[in-house]
């Protein structure tokens, strides 16, 4: 049995995948689709036929997304930047939460009377379990959106860039910390490390604060264009 509301809902979901199409745009297109369907049903088409004809007349989502992209360029980029900031802030927050959890587990094990090695291992296992849960949740989430082709989800170029960045970043960090440990005199090593880590923490905190601010303000601005706001 054909369910018109379900079909329109799915059609909207597909339309929202195009990053250039805002919620307000989808609302406007939906109103058009509904009116077109109503007109066709009046001409004795079944709801299913009317939906098919109306959605074909409205045009392919990909072609529409491309046309909207030409007018919504700023929206597209602010959304991309927003996602990058969100990913960074979210990643740091998640990593801090997990490492905090590991420390708690390690400390708890030590408090319960376990020796250094088992207590430390308990922390490591807690960390592994947490990350495994995160990966499993992300995997389930992507499985739900299986209609999105993988190539669209993450392009090969981006993937290569991320891997290169990860390898060079980790390598540089390893080399730098080794050189640092050898260059700085023993009695000043602690102070030096303290400054580096506190400086890093301060930078990270500022980025997180600015990032959260940016997310809140941009989100408000983007939803301002939403269909829900009537002048």
């Amino acid at each position: 049995m054909f369910d018109l509301e379900r079909a329109i809902h799915d059609w909207k979901q597909r339309g929202q995948r195009a990053e250039s199409v805002t919620r307000a745009d989808i609302g406007e297109l939906e109103e058009h689709l509904r009116e077109s369907i109503a007109g066709l049903v009046n001409k004795d088409l079944t709801e299913e036929e009317a939906f098919l004809v109306a959605s074909i007349r409205l045009g392919e989502h990909a072609a529409l997304g491309e046309e909207y992209g030409k007018v919504n360029g700023v929206t597209v980029w602010s959304r991309r930047v927003l996602w990058m900031v969100f990913g960074y802030v979210g990643g740091i927050a998640l990593a801090s939460a997990i490492s905090g959890f590991c420390m708690c587990i390690g400390t708890l094990s030590a408090y319960l009377g376990y020796a250094g090695t088992p207590a430390g291992l308990a922390g490591v296992i807690a960390g592994l379990a947490s990350w495994a849960t995160v990966v499993a949740l992300l995997y389930l989430r992507t499985r739900q959106n299986d209609a999105t082709p993988r190539s669209e989800f993450v392009s090969t170029g981006w993937l290569v860039a991320v891997v290169v960045l990860m390898v060079t970043g980790t390598g540089a960090r390893l080399v730098a910390s080794n050189v640092h440990a050898q260059m700085v005199p023993m009695d000043q090593y602690g102070t030096s490390v303290w400054w580096t880590s506190m400086g890093g923490l301060a930078i990270q905190c500022s980025i997180m604060l600015v990032g959260t601010g940016l997310i809140l303000t941009t989100r408000a601005r983007l939803s301002h264009q939403s269909i829900l706001s009537v002048d």
Binding site: G27, S36, L64, E67, Y68, V71, I227, D231
Partner: protein
């Protein structure tokens, strides 16, 4: 049927001309153009909206969300003062092309 290129070129003057008759919304604009052209002008309907949004960015038209008779939100567009001027300029240009072609080919007897 009118070619794709000509459809693309004529969308802007057509939208401005329809809106010069009064406030309207996407679906009604499409119906109006289809009606007036006797079905000769078939738009890929969704493409009208990016055109409308571009005209809005150029401040030639203004929009507002309002409730339609069926109780859903609908976006209405109307011509601004700059839009009226743009339409007059389009009008001059299209008449210039039309008159030249009409002189060369002779007026279409069906339209007299």
């Amino acid at each position: 049927m009118v070619s794709k290129e000509l459809i693309a070129a004529s969308t802007r003057p057509l939208v401005l001309a329809v809106l010069s008759k009064g406030e309207s919304y996407g679906y009604a604009i499409i119906l109006r153009v289809r009606d007036l052209s006797g079905g000769e002008l078939e738009w890929s309907e969704g493409m009208l909206y990016p055109v409308l949004h571009r005209l809005e960015q150029q401040k030639l038209i203004v929009s507002r969300w309002s409730e339609s008779e069926n109780g859903r939100k609908r976006k209405y567009y109307r011509l601004s003062a700059a839009g009226t001027r743009a339409m007059q300029s389009e009008r001059q240009q299209w008449f210039a092309v039309h008159e030249t072609l009409a002189t060369l080919w002779g007026a279409n007897p069906c339209l007299t």
